[in-house]
Each structure stands twice: as structure tokens, then as C-alpha cells.
Symmetry: C2
Subunit: 297 residues, 2 copies
């Protein structure tokens, strides 16, 4: 178990430091069966552990953020979770920010239980941030958002996802409550922005908030009701951005895709980096960090 001494820094503050020193790349840790085979590892919990620890080792000193996809560990049951715990400990001991891609979404005490699992200092599954799913309402997630902020942790709320099937729900129009007439994706983004403002009202205004969103890089965000040319009020919400690399979005287009959100974008790449294999992984990460840095000027 890795204990985190309270630093007093928010997740947004820590992310700003990582951006300044290591850039905006987040390396996925996705031990697919076929990737394990390509890497010469067994398709077992031990194989997934070796894979994860190798990615962490390759990322240290080059990139600042890793994102394990938890399903690829959960498929092995509790032994997969034990393997995951060792990968998370390695990553956090090495000073990497860890975003667990768990997409949890619950109500009340069940959502609190997820916060206890992933966002509580000293928990065996402790990470720096998790992804969450707002289908039950952003308000249903408040317990975990509050817990995150209190512990210096972060949360990324799904808003507009990079897969084509996401559009139906995410572009639907809200008809109930104060955000009537907005798209679902836009209503979620506005709720997140509002919460970042509320959290920081009494403190010095940070550059980045601790509550972020997931906005896919493959999308025309305007069709999701999100106007990226409007300046953001309050702290910039960090944007976890899948869709670059294997899914087809180009790093050179980062500024035009995300506009006023670009400075908060975490470029999340998995397959495009991991398919380099264990020996060429460091070189692949270094090259990608350089490309993103160049695109950001």
C-alpha cells in the first residue's frame, strides 16, 4: 500500500506542474490479450502486472501521466486487482499522476464506496483521479466529487466520448430543469465548470480545476453543443482526450479541436504507443511527447 502524505495541493495544481515539466501526454496501460502476446507475456494477471510495470518504467522521466484501463485487470478477478495494486504503487512511487479509467457511476452511499476505493489516501487502489459516468446525473456524483477535492484528487466526468455510438444520448436535448434546451454533453460541461468555480471560490484561483471532463478528439464538438471559441469562466476544467493516435485525430489539430480548452487537454494514447512493444516503448513515448509539445508551441 502506498500512502500519500497530504501536500495541500489540489489535483489541478499537480496537473499544472506535470504539464509544465513533462507535457500533456497520458500513456494508457491497456493489457489486451493480443498486446500481452505481442509483448511475449502470458495472458494472466502476472502478465498484465509485468506489462503495467514495464509501461510505468518506460514512462518515468518522459511522460507525467498514466491511465490504466481497469477492465483489463478485472478480467482476472481478485488476482488481477492484486496485480493492479502493484502497478498503481509503482506508478505513484515514481511520481506519475495516475488516472484510473473506471467510469463509475452510482448514487448515494454506493458512489461514496467507489470514492473510498479509488480516491482515499492509503486505500490499496489509491489513484490521483478516476473517470466517472454521469448517466444517473452529475448531482448523483457529488459525494465522490467532494471527496476527491477534499483529498487533493481529481475526477473526469464523461461528456462527449470519442466512439460513434455515444452521439445519440450525448447530443440529446435537456427538457427538464435549469439547463433546458442544452445538449446533454453541454449541460454536463456546464455543471462541471460550475462545480470548479464553487470549490475554488474561497481560495486563490488555480489555472486548472480538479474536476474535468472527457471530450473525444475525434468529434466536432459544436455538434455536441460545445462552443470551444468561448473563453472559459473560472478554472479551466482538465480535458481527458481520447481519440488521438489509433482512433485517428491528429495532434496538429489539438488547438483547433479544443480551442479555449486546449491548455487543459490531456492527450490520452494507448494502442498507438503500446504497440511499439516493450523495447521501443520509451522511444515511442519520447517521440509522442515531443510531437505534442511542438503542436502546442
Amino acid at each position: 500500500m502506498t500512502e500519500t502524505a497530504p501536500t495541500g495541493l489540489s489535483f489541478g495544481d499537480r496537473l499544472s506542474t506535470v504539464f509544465a515539466t513533462r507535457g500533456q501526454l497520458c500513456v494508457g496501460i491497456d493489457p489486451h490479450a493480443w498486446l500481452l502476446t505481442d509483448w511475449g507475456l502470458p495472458d494472466t494477471a502476472a502478465g498484465a502486472e509485468a506489462f503495467g510495470r514495464r509501461v510505468v518504467e518506460a514512462a518515468v522521466g518522459l511522460a507525467g501521466i498514466v491511465k490504466p484501463q481497469i477492465g483489463f485487470y478485472e478480467r482476472f478477478g481478485s488476482v488481477g486487482y492484486a496485480a493492479l495494486e502493484r502497478v498503481l504503487a509503482d506508478a505513484r512511487d515514481a511520481g506519475l499522476l495516475v488516472i484510473a479509467d473506471v467510469k463509475r457511476g452510482e448514487i448515494g452511499t454506493s458512489m461514496e464506496a467507489y470514492g473510498e476505493a479509488w480516491l482515499t489516501p492509503g486505500s490499496p487502489l489509491e489513484v490521483d483521479a478516476i473517470t466517472v459516468n454521469p448517466f444517473l446525473g452529475v448531482g448523483s456524483l457529488d459525494a465522490s466529487l467532494d471527496l476527491a477535492v477534499a483529498s487533493g484528487k481529481g475526477v473526469f466526468v464523461l461528456a462527449a466520448t470519442s466512439n460513434p455510438e455515444g452521439k445519440t444520448i450525448q447530443t440529446s436535448l435537456v427538457t427538464d430543469g435549469p439547463r433546458s434546451g442544452l445538449s446533454v454533453a453541454r449541460a454536463i460541461l456546464d455543471e462541471v465548470t460550475e462545480r470548479n468555480v464553487a470549490v475554488t471560490v474561497a481560495a486563490a484561483q488555480p489555472e486548472l480545476g480538479s474536476i474535468g471532463v472527457v471530450l473525444g478528439a475525434t468529434l466536432d464538438l459544436a455538434t455536441f453543443g460545445i462552443d470551444v471559441s468561448t473563453p472559459v469562466t473560472g478554472p479551466l476544467p482538465p480535458v481527458l482526450a481520447p481519440g488521438f493516435g489509433h482512433q485517428g485525430a491528429a495532434i496538429a489539430d489539438l488547438a483547433s479541436i479544443y480551442g479555449s480548452f486546449a491548455a487543459g487537454v490531456i492527450v490520452s494514447e494507448s494502442r498507438s504507443v503500446l504497440s511499439a512493444g516493450p523495447d521501443r516503448l520509451s522511444a515511442s513515448i519520447a517521440r509522442r511527447v515531443t510531437e505534442i509539445g511542438a503542436a502546442r508551441g
Copy 2:
């Protein structure tokens, strides 16, 4: 690990048998910290395991379905999952249908990984059905729906949830694709119905489908665009129904709340049953089964 011999029966078929022999109650397994304390158990993985095994023991012979809320095990990390595996094994060995309340929602290979974890015969976390979250699109779940049906397993897709914060997204109006003009909840229900028909087109028509929905009992479903007076085409989708008991919906209103879906309703109760304590749990379950049976006539 509990291996399931292929029976050739679908989840819907097995659910029909359970309804006929044990009724429509599903007992939640929610080891909250405060419930563990009330039960005289430690707030640890071992306490959550003892709690879960006690619920299973009390349910056997009285109710046919249990639903562990996985977050209450995940909060202990891998040792919590190991405890959960033993609870699941007990429940399945005793012939109970087990619905894991995990609300997973992912795309592509990540969703397949969750199917591998929960719906694959012989997996350490094997259950009979899981809950899934459609925010990324019902189509994004198809890999797990196909896997479920092929293995005789079930899936419950969130559609209209019992908490008040769910309304904003779930009543939004679809503007994209063939279900334009429908509410999000109704579009999900229609997609589920369509898939149950597609799955069973070549086989004898079952009474209940294997792909179900979550529709909260606390709701006026008409405000979610769902007309329960219309007869259902094809197999009846099973309805996992939270909201009875502690959340306030009355069993006597089951038929009026669910209309043409009532015969497929699984009455999911947790706190209202579990708060009876370990010694009075069996009596509490037996009374609730009787009440539901009386209400269903």
C-alpha cells in the same frame, strides 16, 4: 472458482423458473460500513464476506435472486474482491441467480474485458447477470450483450433510475438517428426490446428476454416517455426495479407502476430487508416474498 455447466437455458428462461418457484424478490447484498456495525461485524473485507455469506444463507429456499453492490467490496481493494468471489461462489452453488450491480459502460475491447470478468463461465467473478450503463450508447455495449446471450447470461441496461438526479439526462430528447424525438430512457428501452427480438428470432419465443432494463419504482414512467399500457412486442424485457422499500415505492402499486412490464419485474430491495439484522433476516425475506406474491395475485 465455480464452473457452470452449460445448461442450454437462457437467462430469461432461468429467470422465469425462479419467478414461478421463488417469486420476484431480489435481495441486495450491500455491506455498508454502518450495516456491518449494526450486524456486529468488522468494517473489513472479512466483515463484508461474512455479511454476504449470511445474506446468501438466509435467502436460500426463500428468495431466488441476490444482487451484490460491488462498490461495497471494491472499497477494500483486491482483498475485497477475493471476499466477493467467495460470496458469489456460495450464492451460485446454492442455486441463486446473482446479478452483480456493477453498472459498467465502455467501448470495444474494454467492454469485452468486462464481459470476460463477469459473464464468462469459469471466471472467478462469474455471475448470472450484470447491470450496464448506456451513456456511451447501447451499441457500444453490443459485445457484452452478445457474450451474455451466448453464455446464457443476462444484462440490465440502465434506462430510468430511481434517484431524482437521473431525470435530466434520462428525459432528454434524442435528436440524432432513427429514434429522434424519443426520450433517452424510451430510446434505450426500445433498443433493448429490439435486441431481445433479434436474439430469439430463430428460437422458440421465450416469455422473458435475457436483456433487461433498470426502471425505478419511484418514477412516473410516463414522464420518461415510457407508456406502460402498451403491450410489449416480443419477449418481455426483465425489469430490475429499485425504489421499493426504503426509497418509498409500495409493493401494492407494482401493477400500476409497471403495467404491461409487471410480469417481468424483479423487486430489488436492500436496506429495507438487510436492516432487520442477521437474526431476523430470514423472516424479513419471507415476509417480503409473501407481500410481493400477494400484490401480484
